[in-house]
């Protein structure tokens, strides 16, 4: 699950070739094809031409306005996945993305409402508030694990519910009495993250004159906001962090084998706390970006409804904790959603089609990863029955050092 890439591996052309081949025949590619075939059969059964449907799905999500929408949706999804990578890669199973995302969003909206309109500085302050709140919230399960013992896996998940309820309550306090929605007031326009090239700016006007109305470039410049750039920078920073910093290296070693890490002078509790702080901080930042760039207020239940935080866990698993993997998987899932909506418009098909494909891909990936695991377990069990060996239960998600399934004895 954890990607261990080193310069040596990247340098070697034979290794590169094998990796390309492995990617083409790998679990993910095969699962995606499998899902498409399965849904294709379904479509034929209800009297649709699967090729036409898939064609529309692609066209609707990868061209023109659709492409811009796909990219825009990828922003929070990829961003949250990147956030989670910091903990998953260190072997810390942080399931608290939801709460961290939400708390970050709330902190930024509160800050933005409290601040006088001060443009970019104000936006930065609101983002910083999101980071700090998310980091603080995210670190709590780590502190609990390090001092008391209960694992992050459990506490981080439970903390989500506390977060959701708490944020709901704060929203009810902030809600203007006259408003009908359960939502905070809208933040001042001055503090909203602007489009890459706002239509009313001189450059925007020049572009508007030079380009056709439906030119993707124009659509992207106006339709995407600066969060897009922030997430791209985050991806690059994460790659650098993992490959080029001592902290990132130590996190990777800890994720591979915690007992080994402790034995070679890596402070494992510090790794747990740092990775959770970064994870939470970045999730909080994404919360801030969504509030400041897209929603402009916090509507009760809106963040949960998007499902971004939970989907992000799947994206990280599908992308094997690698930043590039998260970009690809995150983009793919967004593409399915946007394409699904297009199907609804063109064929009057339910947008649930997209969700079905998405669910099937995940299902098949898990199945493909799971089948060898299960057969192996069964084999071990049969053998244990035969030889009286003890079966060591190894949870799939957390390979322990004792996991001899991938390790040979000498």
């Amino acid at each position: 699950m954890t990607a261990v890439t080193t310069a040596a591996r990247r340098r070697d052309p034979a290794v590169l070739g094998r990796r390309v081949l492995a990617a083409l025949t790998g679990t993910v590619t095969v699962s995606i094809l499998g899902a498409l075939v399965a849904v294709g059969v379904l479509l034929v059964a209800i009297g649709q031409n699967p090729f036409a449907v898939y064609g529309t799905l692609l066209e609707g999500s990868l061209t023109g306005r659709g492409l811009v929408t796909t990219l825009q949706r990828s922003v929070p999804l990829v961003g949250l996945s990147i956030a989670l990578i910091y903990s998953f890669r260190a072997g810390v199973f942080n399931l608290g993305g939801q709460g961290q995302f939400l708390v970050g969003g709330l902190a930024s909206v509160v800050t933005a409402l409290a601040l006088p309109g001060t443009g970019v500085l104000g936006i930065l302050a609101a983002c910083a508030a999101g980071v700090v709140a998310g980091a603080a919230w995210g670190t709590v399960p780590g502190v609990i694990q390090v001092t008391l013992g209960p694992p992050v896996l459990v506490t981080s998940l439970l903390l989500n519910y506390i977060g959701i309820a708490g944020v709901s309550y704060v929203i009810s306090l902030l809600k203007p009495p006259s408003a009908s929605d359960q939502a905070t007031p809208t933040i001042s326009e001055d503090l909203q993250i602007s489009a890459l090239v706002p239509a009313r700016s001189p450059l925007g006007e020049a572009m508007g004159q030079a380009l056709e109305r439906n030119d993707v470039l124009l659509l992207a410049a106006r339709g995407l906001n600066w969060s897009f750039v922030v997430v791209i920078l985050l991806v690059i920073a994460t790659i650098l962090f993992n490959r080029r910093t001592a902290t990132g290296f130590e996190a990777g070693v800890t994720g591979l084998n915690g007992a080994f890490a402790r034995n070679v002078g890596i402070r494992s509790s510090r790794v747990v706390l740092t990775s959770l702080a970064i994870s939470g901080g970045l999730a909080g930042l994404i919360g801030a970006l969504v509030v400041l760039g897209t929603n402009f207020r916090l509507l009760d239940g809106q963040f949960e409804a998007t499902g971004y935080a939970m989907t992000a866990i799947l994206v990280v698993l599908l992308g094997r904790s690698s930043p590039i993997g998260a970009v690809l998987a995150g983009f793919f899932f967004s593409m399915l959603q946007v394409g699904g909506e297009e199907l609804n418009r063109t064929f009057a098909l339910s947008p649930a089609i997209a969700s079905i494909i998405q669910a099937l891909v995940i299902f098949l990936v898990v199945l493909r990863l799971g089948i060898p695991y299960v057969t192996q377990r069964l084999r071990r069990r049969a053998e244990a029955a035969a030889t009286g060996e003890r079966i060591e239960e190894v949870p799939d998600a957390a390979p322990t050092p004792r996991d001899t399934t991938t390790v040979k004895e000498g």
Partner: protein, 518 residues
């Protein structure tokens, strides 16, 4: 009668041919040794035989019948049994329960405990395997655990027993006991395949020996008609030269000082008021039967166990409360006992496994950034210097043969050239050539002024390398003696708990009777 015949067994992995057409015949009632350098393909061959690994080519004939094993269950059904180095026993069950587990006698799904104990007792007696049938295995010594494992196979009617490096974890006495068991099994008509790196063991117990090199058979010899020298020539293709130890200079200042240290592990006193010191340019060996507190002492020095009382100083600094990282900063390095669990990240590649610990300093880190290219070069350098057999630095170390993984661990820790090295079983599982080279490295390290605390269950290793020897028994240090005064019988007595003076007197008495053994 022929018990087993393997022919043309081939197994290829990416970049390595682990077995390249191996043929091997084992007679009934024969002890057949399998020997070869690290990575020669011994474990792969027996894994194929036991159904763990599927061969690419080749046939297996057991008792005259051609077989192919999908998994170990098939192999067991065909009368094979295997004892691994890592035991798989339930600590909370008794010996008898462990032996019958999964094949319990009884009716209607109820286990007949009494029948089980009786059956196991009979079985043990028949083959001269002494085990406390009714005792829980929790605190039994490894030698006994191994006998329990052998009983498990015998209980399932194994006719061919595979032992992969069984003596690696045993004391010399325990090994001798194992050989007795092997001989009585042979007398009962069982066949045994026995993997080892030790030529004297081959000579002592095996009828035939098959030598592997680079996945091929280079010789199959009758032990009575050959010599260790001939075997080792077939293993390496050359004569192994024993390197000369470097001249010893006077040791310098103390680098490790342990004073009155007591450590408790799980409520039991594991280390009991131990005091010793290791000076720069000195190797102090700890002799003792495994489980007499050596591992707890090493863990305490590494900062993994709090001290009940006493103090430890590394390079003159009291390390009370300091964690492993801080101790490493002071110059502590450590070859741990278990290369898989604490010595490496098996899923990580050699670059990662060799860079750990160097990654915070120049040249691997410059201006706050890791230098991937230098990390690769660093790995390549250590791989070359320690002769690790690996296809390239990007290979996951978990796929290496046992001995080669051990070399990775040794290379990483010795490569630091830090003032202090705690080496636990540094040559466990490595071949003779590699033992020589690791010993040579330790010797040079000492000559450069390094201080080594050497923990080894291999008495010859302790005697060969140490300047002074501390004997541990039940958590206490019985005595620290200069290695010039140490003999195998003297150490043996003290390792069994005989106090120094008594042991000295006894040894003198027996030396007066007959020739001394040194």
């Amino acid at each position: 009668m022929r018990a087993l015949e393997l022919s043309g067994i081939t197994k290829r992995y990416p970049k390595v041919v682990a077995n390249g057409g191996i043929s091997l015949a084992v007679e009934q009632g024969e002890i057949h040794a399998l020997i070869g350098e690290n990575g020669a393909g011994k474990s792969t061959l027996v894994s194929i035989l036991y159904g763990f690994v599927q061969p690419d080519e080749g046939t297996i004939v057991v008792g005259g019948e051609r077989r192919s094993f999908k998994d170990p269950t098939d192999a067991i059904a065909a009368g094979l049994g295997m004892v691994f180095q890592n035991f798989n026993l339930f600590p909370e069950l008794t010996v008898a329960e462990n032996v019958v587990f999964g094949a319990e006698p009884g009716r209607l799904g109820l286990v007949d405990r009494r029948a089980a104990a009786a059956e196991v007792g009979d079985l043990a007696e028949r083959y001269g395997l002494q085990v406390p049938v009714g005792e829980r295995v929790e605190h039994l010594p490894v030698g006994v655990l191994q006998r329990v494992e052998i009983l498990k196979s015998l209980y399932r009617d194994a006719r061919i027993l595979i032992l992969d490096e069984p003596t690696g974890v045993l004391t010399p006495q325990e090994s001798e006991g194992l050989f007795e068991v092997m001989r009585s099994l042979r007398a009962a008509g069982k066949s045994i395949i026995f993997i080892t790196h030790k030529l004297d063991e081959v000579m002592a117990v095996a009828d035939r020996v098959t030598v592997l090199r680079d996945g091929r058979v280079t010789a199959s010899l009758v032990t009575a008609e050959t010599s260790p020298r001939e075997i080792s020539r077939h293993m390496t293709g050359r004569d192994v030269e024993l390197s000369q130890r470097l001249a010893r200079s006077a040791p310098g200042a103390p680098v490790l000082e342990v004073e009155g240290v007591t450590v408790e592990v799980d409520g039991r006193t594991a280390v009991d008021d131990v005091s010793l010191s290791v000076r720069a340019g000195e190797i102090v060996g700890i002799a003792g039967v495994a489980g007499n507190g050596q591992d707890a002492l090493a863990a305490a020095i590494g900062g993994h166990h709090p001290l009940r009382s006493g103090r430890i100083r590394i390079a003159g600094t009291d390390v009370d409360g300091a964690d492993n990282r801080r101790r490493r900063d002071l110059g502590f390095t450590h070859i741990p006992e278990d290369r898989h669990v604490t010595g490496s990240a098996p899923l990580g590649d050699a670059v990662l496994n060799l860079a750990v610990g160097y990654h915070r300093r120049s040249p691997l880190r410059e201006r706050g950034l890791l230098q991937p290219k230098r990390m690769v070069e660093h790995a390549e350098r250590l791989i070359r210097r320690f002769g690790v057999r690996i296809a390239g630095p990007a290979v996951a170390v978990g796929t290496l043969s046992g001995g080669n993984l051990q070399k990775i661990v040794v290379a990483r820790e010795l490569g630091h050239d830090a003032p202090l090295l705690v080496a636990e079983q540094p040559t466990r599982g490595v071949d003779i050539g590699a033992i020589e080279s690791i010993h040579g490295e330790l010797d040079e390290y000492r000559a450069r002024g390094g201080a080594v605390l050497l923990v080894s269950s291999e008495l010859s290793e302790v005697l060969n390398l140490s300047d002074r020897i501390a004997v541990m028994f039940e958590g206490r240090v019985m005595a620290v003696i200069p290695s010039a005064e140490a003999t195998v019988p003297l150490l043996g007595l003290m390792m069994a708990g005989v106090p120094y003076e008594t042991a000295l007197a006894e040894e003198a008495a027996s030396a007066a009777e007959g020739g001394t053994a040194r």
